[in-house]
Every structure is written in C-alpha cells, then in structure tokens.
C-alpha cells in the first residue's frame, strides 16, 4: 500500500512536469488571457509567475521540488485557484466531492443491484431466448461510448425530444424556494440521466462477469453433488452456486472505480454537474495547475480507497481468505 502511494505521487508529479516549457509561464499566460489588456496585466503576470515559482519551488532541483510538493499534498494544501485567487482549491474540491462521491456510489450500487440478478438469471437460463436477448443487450451496452450515450439521452429526453427530464445541472434555478419534498423530487429528476449514463457501462461489465462466473461454478462437481443429493434447485443456485461465483465479481469493484472516475469527467461535463469531474475539466481548459493536480490526486486516492474496500470485502465474502 505505502509503496503504491509513493509511486502514485511520483507519477502525478511526473505528469505535471510533462508540460512543455515553464509551467509558471504557462500558468501566468492563463492569467494574462483572463485579465483584460491593461497596464496592470503585466505586473499581474509577473506576480503570478513569482508566486507559482515560489509555490512549486521551480528553481530547486527536481527531488526537492517533489519533496515540497509531497509535503503540501500531505497537508492537503492545494493552493488557490488561478482565476479566483481567494478561493482555496481544497474547499472547492471538498464541495465538489460531496456531489461526485454520492453519485459514484449510487451508480456502483445500482449496477451491482441490476447486474447480479441479471447475470445469475442469464446463466441459469443459458441457451434460452431470454438469455440470448439479455446477453446481446448487455453486449451492446458494453460497446456504447459514454459521451455519445449522454448526448443521445439528452436528445431523447431533453426539451427538444420527449421533454420528460431536465438535462442540465442538479437543481432547477429556483430550487432555493422549494419545500424539502419538492427539492428532493427535483434532485431525483435531475440525476436520473447522469446516473444512467454512469451506470450502464459498469452494469454491462459486471453482469457479463457474473454470468461467466456463474456458468463456471455451475459446471463444478459440488453443484452436481448438491443436485444429486436432492436439494431444491433454489438452494443449489442461491446457496451453493451464487455465493461462490460472487467472490470474483465483488472484487471487480476495484477495477470499476477508476473507469467510473474517468467517466465522471465526461458525464459531468455533458450534464454540467458541479462535481470533481467538471472541476478537473475546467482546470484543464483553463490550464489551472492547482486544480488539475488537486483533482488528479483526489481521484487517485479515491481509487486506492476502492482497492482497499475491495480487499476487505473479499475477505468478508470468502472465509478462506484471511489477512494476517
């Protein structure tokens, strides 16, 4: 765990240093673009360059730079935004995490809730018409690009199509005046499309894996034994087969999470949801290094956390595994 952590910070640092030329000048260039062409701008730019150089110790050797950067990350100090110098990136990031994390968790939960029963059903009914329909649909979903799915959902359900669902943001403009129930309903309507968009990919992946795992287990000898000793089919499937095929699928949680975080950049950009993904996107567009580094660090740590959780659940689901 610890070497991985250090490796990740190294990788992040390397990516930041990849930027051609002097990051300070680039950052200042961004500031210069934003300010209007007045006499003040030049001094602002110079000011920004010195600040940036000081902040990232750009005049020091690489190793020292890395050390200082690591220190500031450990203190959760990501600096301020370039364009709103009085906004701390840490505070903004925290606000955004409160949007993205619940969305991602809901999406993971939903995909498990739909994928597991579907995978099991598909495996038990293998070779039937229903199985081939569900397998094909899942296969199509698996190949569907997220951004295009989002655009099509907007076209279909947005104001120009069926006009069933709101497609922008998380709340209506006048959400402040709503009662608690109205507010909740409004939020629910707003998140349907983004969550669909976030979920279908991992759902398709999971249900395919569940089906394969289940088929693998059903072929094994102990299932034949269970049937031979006259157990009810329900017991054979849900007690003997399902529990064993669940183990690998549960650990897939760890490999879904990175995909989900990458996908959140796209989904949040499409639906303009003020989460970490949109924050990262805005940071990239504006070349705001502080924001980019903060969001990248946050997503790497979220993924790591996912790995940890998946390891723990692995131990919980499979009694054969114990951590000494």
């Amino acid at each position: 765990m610890v070497p991985t952590l250090i490796g990740i910070t190294l990788l992040l640092f390397a990516v930041m240093r990849l930027a051609p030329g002097d990051p300070a000048a680039l950052a200042a260039g961004a500031v210069g673009d934003a300010g209007n062409a007045s006499m003040q701008t030049t001094s602002n730019v110079e000011d920004a360059v010195t600040k940036f150089r000081k902040r990232y110790k750009l005049d020091e050797p690489l190793l020292v730079q890395y050390g200082f950067w690591l220190k500031s990350v450990l203190r959760l100090d990501f600096g301020n935004e370039f364009f709103r110098p009085n906004v701390a990136v840490r505070d903004e990031l925290w606000q955004r995490l409160k949007v993205t994390v619940p969305l991602s968790l809901t999406s993971v939960l939903l995909s498990y809730l739909i994928a597991l029963p579907l995978g099991i059903f598909s495996a038990v009914k293998r070779g039937t018409f229903l199985d081939s329909v569900s397998t094909s649909v899942v296969f199509l979903l698996f190949s569907l690009p997220t951004f295009w799915a989002g655009l099509m959902l907007i076209l279909l359900f947005g104001a120009t199509g069926l006009d069933w669902l709101p497609v922008l943001g998380l709340h209506d403009k006048d959400a402040e005046t709503f009662t608690r129930w109205q507010y909740f309903k409004d939020l629910l309507l707003h998140v349907i499309l983004p969550i669909t968009c976030l979920t279908y990919g991992s759902f398709a992946y999971l249900s395919r894996q569940m089906r394969v795992g289940m088929l693998d287990v059903i072929r094994q000898d102990f299932i034949r034994t269970a049937r031979a000793k006259g157990l009810a089919e329900k017991v054979v499937i849900f007690k003997h087969a399902m529990r064993n095929s669940l183990i690998p699928v549960v650990t897939l949680f760890a490999s879904i999470l990175p995909v989900l975080i990458g996908g959140s950049v796209i989904v949040e950009t499409i639906f303009t949801i003020p989460g970490v993904g949109l924050y990262a996107f805005q940071g990239l567009v504006q070349r705001d290094y502080n924001v980019v580094m903060a969001t990248a660090t946050a997503s790497a740590f979220m993924t790591l956390l996912g790995f940890l959780v998946s390891d723990i659940t692995y131990a919980l689901v499979d009694p054969r595994i114990a951590y000494d």
Binding site: T4, I8, V15, P145, F147, L151, G158, V285, S299, T303
Partner: protein, 566 residues
C-alpha cells in the same frame, strides 16, 4: 489417404477463429470499414475520378503566366551576364525559371494538336539554347536567344487564346483546344494512400493467394508452408512499400480543386466526366447550406431564395435579431445532386456547409488509425516489459510488477486526459500517450505466460544449448505467449478508438486537417443539429462493437474456458 498431421499453435488458433461465424462476420464488416477509410479519395472527393474535355481556365492561366516567367528568365540572363564570375547562384535561379516555363508549356501543350504546338516547341528550344549559352558564358548569344524567347511568348499570348469550339477560331488570334483526358482524383494520391490501398487489396485477397502459394508453389508441403510464413509477411508489406516508392503523384492536397467551379462557370468544358459517389471535397464549404439537415428529412427543404420551407428554421425573421434574414440561395455545382435532391447531403452538413458524409468518410482514417497505432505501441511496450519481468523473475519482476500496479491504480482515462492536455493534442501525441499509459494489461498477461512457460522443457533446452537470453525470450518463448496478447490487442483497438473520441469530445482531440469522428461530433452541441451528434457516434459505436465482437471470438478460440455464449 492423407495422414493426419499435427498442427502448431497458430494453425490451431486460426482454424478455431475461422469456425466462429459471428466474429468472422465482424471481421468482414471491419475490413469494409477500413476499405472506406483507405479508399476515401475515391468515395468522397470533389476532384473528378475521370475527366475528358478542355480546360480553358487552366490554359488561360498558363498562357498569362508564361510571358511573366519568360520575362523573368530574360532578366536573370542579363543579371548573370553582368555578375560575371559568381554565376553559380544565378544559374540555379535560371533552372527554377526554366522549370516554371516548362510546367506552363506542358499545361498548354497537352490541350493543343500537333501542328498548333509548334510555337510552344520553338519557345522550349529557345529557352534550352539560352540556358546552354549562359553555361558557356556566351552572354551576347544568350541574350539574343532570350530575346527571341520573349518574342515567341508574346506571340503565344497574342495569337493563341483558347476557344473550345473549332468553328469559332479566328486565325492569328485564337486556337481551338483539343480535349485531353486525366484522372484528377488518382493524381492527388500521396505515397501513404498508395501503400495502404495496395496493402488492403493484398489483405482482402489473402485467402486466395495464400492458398495458391501453399498448394501450387509449395505443393502442400507443411514444413515448407510453415517456413514460407516469413516470406508472405515480407510480400504483404514489401509490395505496398515498393508501389508507394515508385508512385509518381503529388502528395494529398486538401484544398478545393477548380474542376467543379470551372465546369459550373463554363471555363472547363467536359466531354465525359465521372465524379466520386459523394462529389464533395473535405474542405469544400457552401455558404447557403450551413447546418443543413440531412436532405432526406422534410425540414431540409430550401426554396429558390435560400429560405427553409419547413421546420424550426422556416421563419424568415431571425429570432435573435428580429430583422428578416438575407436569403442565401444554395449554389449547386456541376456534378452535385440538385438543391433539394434527397441524396444531396445524406447526412447533413456542418457549420460551414461542408458535407458531413464526406467528413465522416475521411475521418474514418484518423479514428481507425489511432486505434491501430496506439495498440501497436502498447503491445510493443507491454510485451517487452512483460517478457523481461516474467523471464528473469526475482527483483526485476517485483520492481516491474510494482510499477504496473501503480499505473493501473490511476484512472487511465483521467491520466491520458491530463497528459494530452499538457503535452498538446496532436494525432501522434494522442497515440503515444494512449500507448504509454495502457500497456500494463498486456505486460501482465505476457508476464503470466512467461511464468507458465519458463520451466518448460523447450525453454530449458534452449538455455542448455547456450542460446542467448534475448533469443530465447523473443524467438522461443514469445511465439507461445502471444495468444492472450492477441485477444487483449483486439479489445484495446476498440478502447483506443473510444479514448480518442472521448478526448476529442472534451475538446482535447485532433482538429486539422482531417477530423476524427469524435471531433466531428462536437461541431455543435445544440440539440437542433441532431445529425451532427448522431451519425459520428453511430460510427464509433459500430466500430467499437465490431472489435469487441471479433475480440470475443478470438478469446473463445484461444481459451474455451472463458467462453461466454455456451
């Protein structure tokens, strides 16, 4: 009766893949898609495939420019004379002028009959003589020849203006042009185009020539067949490379050609002309057709004044400003379907009125190439690193495994996005970054295979024979470890296409000069321009799906245990 012969690993794999109908069908459609990309110049092009007729406009241009180039030749000759000794640079400039004159003469000459061409030939001779005399440092004679050339060029300007119809010829003033034939779309192919066209044809007919080679030349001798594999690969890539090397065409140019506008204006007169199925150029815009819906759709009907008849844009009042919009009649050029023909713009147009179908056909080149090249890069990196880790084991293995673990922990798309945004989006950067970030999966697979194979007898035998590590790794173990890599590679082509289009979608993708499918998609985010958002996405979706389908077939063929269907 033939004896039952054993098959080696790849023979088994290929025969297994061949038995899977779905993945073979997917492969076939993919081959067609690649054909569209490779043969894009013949599918969507504003240059005619074949043209026979007279080109007054090209002739006039050459005629006008001829006198200017001869004049500057004459002045170069005078300067070369006065410069005296340091004339090397002057003769170099002289050669450039001569080349310019010869090009013009050629353009004019190919549209003139044998007898009409006499003044041009005379001029050509005089120019040659001039250069010769300058080389001999005979300045007065050179100036005399230059003067004679100038006089001839003046005569050509005054007496040889072109007309298309022989009955209109005024002797001493105009000449009738003879029709010539040319293949503009072919002539615009670059070396790369030729390479991939030949390669594609060879791949398509591989089953045919492979069978011929095996049965006729090698007489079904299986050891010779096995040995001939390398020669077949050489032929597969060598022949296209040779064709490309000897190809004499101008490199692909994307600017709009003058054929269509000339034909429309009457300055180019065709006896026969054949256009590509989609007669629009990649960069050919049409002001009257900005964001025109697909022409089979009812909302795309435009009246003669340039106003939409139905649909959301039908009102003549601009909703934003409140004043009547100026109508912009649709310009229909020769070779294009009529303004309201349903097949004028089957997939609509973009903001500049460029045909979306044309741009999709050309965009296929970028999108498909990104998938393939990034996969080649990641397979190379992954295979080398995985081989080293798996073969040597120990500390090397631990170290590499750790690195793989770290890179895999990071959200791949996020990492690629940041890197591309920082190093700047270009097609090469995107392919490299995808390759350098996503090699870990392949490396893990190869490492696993090596660990499985490391202790086997044939590896030990090769080590015992004193074969070098590099040779053991790449010649003995690697061929047996490539099965899973093939599967991973197929899927990663799909992933590469997806990643590139996602990057383009976010605005960090490829823009010029050829668009990718992803960057076509963000031409407009307005729901009113639905065709812009639907069609490129459909193509991305289909391609990714086909690769996944094929990949599953390959995986089932290699490892029946993982089979999903039964």
């Amino acid at each position: 009766m033939r004896a039952v012969q054993g098959q080696d690993y790849w023979e088994l794999v290929l025969s297994q893949i061949r038995r899977r109908k779905m993945s073979m069908a997917a492969l076939f459609v993919l081959v067609v898609l690649y054909a569209v990309a490779v043969f894009a110049p013949f599918i969507a092009n504003d240059r005619p495939l074949y043209f026979e007729g007279v080109d007054l406009q090209a002739y006039r241009k050459a005629q006008r420019e001829l006198i200017v180039t001869v004049e500057s030749l004459a002045s170069e000759v005078r300067e070369a004379g006065s410069a005296g000794e340091g004339a090397a640079a002057a003769t170099e400039r002289l050669d450039l002028e001569v080349a310019a004159i010869k090009t013009r003469l050629q353009v004019m000459g190919r549209q003139l009959g044998e007898s009409q061409r006499r003044p041009l030939d005379d001029l050509s001779d005089e120019v040659d003589m001039t250069v010769e005399k300058v080389r001999d440092r005979a300045t007065p004679e050179a100036e005399r020849h230059a003067g004679r050339a100038l006089q001839l060029a003046g005569e050509i300007r005054d007496q040889m203006s072109p007309v298309a119809d022989p009955s209109e010829v005024v002797v001493g003033k105009t000449v009738a042009l003879t029709p010539f034939r040319t293949f503009p779309a072919f002539q615009n192919l670059g070396r790369g185009d030729v390479f991939f066209m030949v390669l594609w044809i060879l791949i398509l007919f591989f089953p045919l020539w492979n069978r011929f080679w095996n049965q006729r030349i090698l007489r079904g001798h299986r050891f010779r067949i096995r040995r001939a594999r390398r020669h077949k690969m050489l032929l597969l890539f060598g022949l296209p490379a040779l064709c490309a090397l000897f190809w004499q065409g101008s490199a692909g140019e994307f600017y709009v050609s003058t054929y269509k506008s000339g034909l429309t204006a009457g300055s180019v007169i065709a006896r026969h002309v054949a256009f590509a199925p989609i007669p629009y150029g990649l960069a050919e815009s049409n002001e009257g057709e900005s964001f025109r819906p697909p022409t089979w759709h009812t909302t795309s009907e435009i009246d003669d004044a340039g106003y939409y008849v139905r649909g959301p844009r039908a009102g003549r009042i601009d909703r934003a400003t409140g004043i009547p919009k100026a109508g912009q009649p649709v310009q229909v050029e020769v070779g294009e379907p009529s303004a309201n023909s349903f097949r004028r713009h089957l997939l609509g147009t973009d903001s500049l009125g460029r045909d979306l179908a044309t741009r999709l056909v050309w965009g296929a080149r970028v999108s498909l190439a990104v998938g393939l090249v990034s996969t080649v890069i990641l397979v190379l990196i992954g295979t080398i690193i995985g081989s080293i880790a798996g073969y040597y084991g120990g500390v090397t293995d631990t170290l590499i495994s750790r690195v793989i673990e770290i890179v895999q922990t990071f959200p791949v798309f996020f990492l690629i996005l940041i890197t591309v945004a920082f190093v700047g989006p270009s097609i090469m950067n995107i392919m490299l970054v995808i390759g350098f970030v996503s090699w870990t999966g392949v490396a893990r697979l190869v490492r696993g295979e090596y660990i499985r194979l490391r202790g086997q007898d044939f590896v030990v035998a090769s080590q015992a024979l004193g074969v070098s590590s590099a040779r053991t790794i790449f010649r003995h173990v690697l061929p047996n470890a490539m099965g899973p890599v093939l599967v991973a590679a197929t899927f990663s082509v799909a992933t590469g296409i997806l990643i590139e289009s996602s990057l383009s979608f976010l605005g960090f993708g490829i823009k010029l000069p050829i668009p990718s499918w992803g960057s076509l998609l963000i031409e407009s985010r307005s729901a009113e321009h639905w065709w812009i958002q639907i069609y490129p996405g459909v193509l991305i979706f289909i391609t990714v799906m086909l690769y996944n389908l094929f990949g599953e077939g390959v995986r089932d063929a290699l490892d029946p245990r993982l089979k999903v269907t039964h």
